[in-house]
């Protein structure tokens, strides 16, 4: 059982480039999330989705976009990369909105130079 799979694991971007971080889950979870993790800052919610076709902004959405065309996939798009987007990105999924049990992927480390 793969759980939540993120690709790529590492990526270096130049300022102004764009890219998509891929996330797929095989647990048939309705709820999916993108967080970014910066040292000493915890995890900040970028975007989330409560089901296919439904997405909404989290705490730090600027510079990012998402889509949710299927239950399994929740890609995160970075447009016009900036050094401030250097971070570790985590995708997570959940079967319920009533608890805090999120299943996380192993992360994607992005560096913008």
């Amino acid at each position: 059982n793969a759980g939540v799979t993120q690709t790529p694991k590492f990526r270096i971007l130049k300022i102004g480039q764009s890219m998509t971080l891929q996330c797929t889950q095989d647990m048939n979870h309705n709820y999916m999330y993108w967080y970014r993790q910066d040292p000493g800052m915890g995890l900040k919610l970028i975007y989330y989705s409560v089901g296919a076709g439904i997405t909404d902004k989290g705490e730090v959405p600027n510079g990012y976009n998402v889509s949710r065309s299927t239950t399994e996939d929740f890609p995160l798009r970075l447009e016009l990369a900036a050094p401030s987007q250097t971070s570790v990105y985590f995708c997570a999924s959940s079967t319920t909105s009533r608890t805090g049990e999120l299943f996380f992927g192993e992360g994607s480390r992005l560096t913008v130079l």
Partner: protein
Amino acid sequence: QQQVKQSPQSLIVQKGGISIINCAYENTAFDYFPWYQQFPGKGPALLIAIRPDVSEKKEGRFTISFNKSAKQFSLHIMDSQPGDSATYFCAANQGSSNTGKLIFGQGTTLQVKP
């Protein structure tokens, strides 16, 4: 009001000692408080969680203490082991929002010395 404040930022404990991490929140609508454990290079994983109608929950060496009136909760790791060395995050969820969004604390890096 959506913040969860966590302390300390880092913690060093001798093997066999007790590790204590504290968190505080403001939003009284939060109704589920999980703790996550993260090893280097891995994603966070749920460790233990509590609801505000319970003052304490214990799972093995891990205990959450919850003080609803003070809006504080803490993680106690008894008999700390080197394998417990990791980053720990407290979090809070507002179930009534029907989104499952978690608000995380800033994280505590725990080092258990042999």
